[in-house]
């Protein structure tokens, strides 16, 4: 075993063509990391203001960006997400990387005029994204 060890030790630590900065790039946080973005719309843009009286502005927000490799601590992702990432990188790139999707929502109150002229105040669940995750 000694000659194996000595031959191993003689090998250069990194291949000559190895580019250190390239290597470290994969550990930098991606610039456009998965995070929450605003999208303010008014119901008049959608021509819904003839039946939605309030709110005037609605910001459903959305999640966009790349999922870093170390998603566990930042996004509370299950281990499956990292496994999927490794499959994509090492085994089969047709398996998609984990996606940046909403993890939590908040409700929205809407004041609407019904076709019969009655007025309805309603609170709808899951209408505004409040947190993103990688899945």
């Amino acid at each position: 075993a000694q000659d194996t060890v000595s031959s191993e030790l003689k090998k250069p630590l990194v291949p000559a063509s190895f580019n250190l900065s390239e290597y470290f790039k994969q550990f930098l946080f991606p610039q456009n990391e998965c995070e929450l973005h605003d999208f303010r719309l008014s119901f008049s843009q959608l021509k819904w203001d003839n039946w939605i009286v309030a709110p005037h502005k609605y910001n459903p927000r959305y999640c966009k960006g790349d999922c870093p490799r170390a998603v566990g601590h930042r996004y509370g992702s299950p281990v499956h997400t990292m496994v999927q990432n490794i499959i994509h990188e090492k085994l089969d790139s047709s398996v998609p990387r984990p996606s940046c999707v909403p993890a939590k929502y908040s409700p929205l109150s809407v004041l609407a005029i019904e076709p019969d002229g009655s007025i309805a105040y309603k609170e709808y669940e899951d209408m505004i994204a409040t947190k993103c995750t990688c899945r």
């Binding site: 009286v53 709110p55 609605y58 076709p115 002229g117 309805a120 105040y121 309603k122």
Partner: protein
């Protein structure tokens, strides 16, 4: 042919609705089936020019509901957390037909009475009634010089048999005042939950009632014309307010937002058979 094109039109619209209509998902499926009308948003998106022609609501009713909205939600439309009641839906109906509207009597302070019909077609089977209120609004503000006691008698009639059966014995209420209407309060709410509950629960689509309202001074003196609550522009017929709990999954259920309560579809800890009401974070640790 027209028919087949109509079917094709409907098939297309149904397909479109299932794909793109978030708001139609907000309405429980049975409501769409019952009313036969897809959700208003679907009409807006499908035919592009503002959807179904809708009846314009009464301006006073709209003003009341806008005030209610500001009480319950922030400017961005987020429900305020400081509310304790469980209703997540409030519907306001204005009478669809007023027959025999007897004018208010300026001297005795009798408010206008008469037959009122409310069409409750928009109430869905998943919306459970928690409270119902008759809402009288005034055009201007008024404050009574002395406490006023108002007697209100209300008769609910069987709509389909209204002309055949005698109205049931009137429910009479005594509403104690003082009705002091400051600038900001221009309405009276009469709680009629006990009366309407059985009708709404039995899915009555139309409610037919007649109501009489008489206000006298505490010492049983009739109010002078000046003091009478009717000494103002003629009162509008009352609106009907229904406070409902929409039990569909698309509706916001306040008690689920409590930290240790989770909706049945949520909470991986739920699978471990955690006992209800125990903060799941402890188990997770």
């Amino acid at each position: 042919s027209q028919a087949s094109r109509g079917e094709a039109h409907f098939a297309t619209s149904a397909a479109l609705e299932s794909e793109a209509e978030p708001w139609s998902l907000l309405r429980p499926p049975d409501e769409r089936h019952r009313s036969g009308l897809p959700s208003p948003l679907f009409n807006v998106l499908y035919d592009g020019h503002g959807g179904l022609p809708r009846l314009q609501p009464d301006s006073r009713a709209l003003r009341y509901m806008k005030r209610l909205y500001k009480t319950y939600a922030t400017k961005e439309g987020i429900p305020k957390a400081n509310r304790s009641h469980l209703y997540n839906t409030v519907r306001l109906f204005t009478p669809c037909a007023q027959h025999k509207q007897a004018p208010g009597d300026q001297v005795t302070g009798t408010l206008p009475s008469g037959d009122l019909r409310f069409n409750l077609d928009r109430v869905t089977a998943v919306e459970h009634l928690l409270k119902s209120v008759l809402l009288y609004t005034w055009n201007n503000s008024i404050s009574f010089p002395s406490p006023v006691k108002c007697e209100c008698s209300l008769v609910v009639k069987e709509p389909e048999l209204s002309n055949k059966t005698l109205p049931k014995a009137p429910y009479s209420f005594t509403l104690n005042s003082p009705f002091t209407f400051q600038k900001k309060h221009k309405w009276i709410e009469i709680d009629v939950t006990a009366i309407l509950q059985p009708l709404v629960v039995s899915n009555k689509r139309e409610i037919h009632m007649s109501i009489d309202f008489t206000c006298v001074k505490d010492q049983l003196q009739h109010l002078s014309a000046q003091e009478s609550p009717c000494n103002m522009t003629l009162l509008a017929a009352p609106s009907l307010l229904l406070y409902l709990n929409d039990t569909s999954t698309q509706a916001y259920h306040r008690w689920y937002s409590l930290p240790w309560k989770r909706r049945p579809s949520q909470g991986p800890d739920q699978k471990r058979g955690l006992s209800e009401g125990v903060p799941s974070s402890r188990h997770r640790r």
